[in-house]
Amino acid sequence: MKRNFSILVGLLALVGLKLLGDALSQRLGVRVPGNFWGFLALWVFLHFRQVAPTALAGASAFLLNHLTLFLLPSLVAAVVGLRWAPREMALLLVGGLPVTLFMAAACGLLIATLQCTPRKSNHDA
């Protein structure tokens, strides 16, 4: 019971941060989603506090463990509205296949190369 209450408090805090983000986006007149500002605000808060409060950690684990449930409205609406136009299809295929593989390869190769560089210089020294 106490744990559920704690999660509820954490959920309210997260929703509050999202609403604050919405207000900030509106105030600044930018098209950045409110949840992004909420994410940044929470990140900055955690940076100074070091450890996440129990209520927030519990609410975060709950939300991220059941993310599929919260995606259902968008997923169902998307599947119902699914239609295949040639231009959309072409961009989806290019974006989904070569671009995804290129980004994965570039990410992996760059990190692997950066990790090897200091080891080589130490060996030479």
Partner: protein
């Protein structure tokens, strides 16, 4: 009100059933709850004679939780970053490069294919996890059907092909493979990361959350502002 509660209960039942199917399939990537739950909802709508579009509207309150989940991603990302130590700068550079390639790649492809801007804007955040991509698309009025298809396609392609591609390219470090899997295949990739790199699952989570963050910044400030 009663209809809305019934729809939410039905959504919950389909979701829990999809989790059961996923466990029974021994966590097979094609039995992911994200696919099975939608299939079960559509089956339930057919059985009970419901219109799926109306059903989707009735379970709309769940979207508030989705937005809160994006804010909540700051917690696992912060926890992982504290543990990474000297590896962090390398991962950050890899993440930045991957995100730029992902967004710029779609922009170039959209320009070459002469795709309408709203379609390009819907596909651009494809490598961010679903709630982030949907929020970005909503903020510019892009079609959420295209967003969902792009995100799912990217997730499946990234999950199936990233590990063999990296091995073929000679990247043997499992930490790098797990991180790249999270970056390229978001939440769908985490399923494979859980099976293949259980010791480095936190790196896959960092890749997913980090890419969501960087993609939001790139899409908001490059794509959407230039066409705002």
């Amino acid at each position: 009100m009663l209809e809305q509660i019934a729809a939410l209960v039905l959504a919950g039942v389909c979701y829990w059933a999809s989790k059961g199917v996923f466990r029974l399939s021994q966590r097979h990537v094609l039995a992911l709850p994200v696919f099975v739950s939608v299939f079960l909802v559509l089956c339930a709508c057919a059985v009970f004679g419901l219109n799926p579009s109306d059903f989707s509207e009735r379970i709309h309150p769940l979207r508030t939780a989705m937005d809160a989940a994006v804010v909540a991603m700051a917690i696992p990302l912060h926890q992982v970053c504290r543990k990474l130590g000297p590896l962090l700068p390398h991962l950050l550079l890899g993440l930045l490069l991957a995100s730029v390639i992902s967004v710029a790649g779609v922009l170039v492809a959209g320009w070459m294919l002469d795709a309408p801007w709203l379609i390009t804007a819907a596909v651009a955040p494809k490598a961010a996890t679903m709630p982030v991509a949907l929020s970005l698309a909503k903020s510019v009025g892009a079609d959420q059907t295209i967003v969902v298809t792009a995100v799912l396609l990217t997730g499946v392609v990234g999950t199936l092909l990233t590990p063999p591609l990296l091995r073929w390219l000679g990247v043997r470090d499992k930490r790098v493979q797990a991180f790249a899997l999270g970056v390229s295949a978001h939440a769908i990739g985490l399923v494979r990361a859980q099976a293949e790199y259980p010791d480095h699952l936190d790196l896959a989570v960092a890749g997913m959350c980090g890419n969501a963050l960087v993609t939001t910044i790139l899409c908001s400030f490059l794509l959407f502002w230039t066409h705002g």
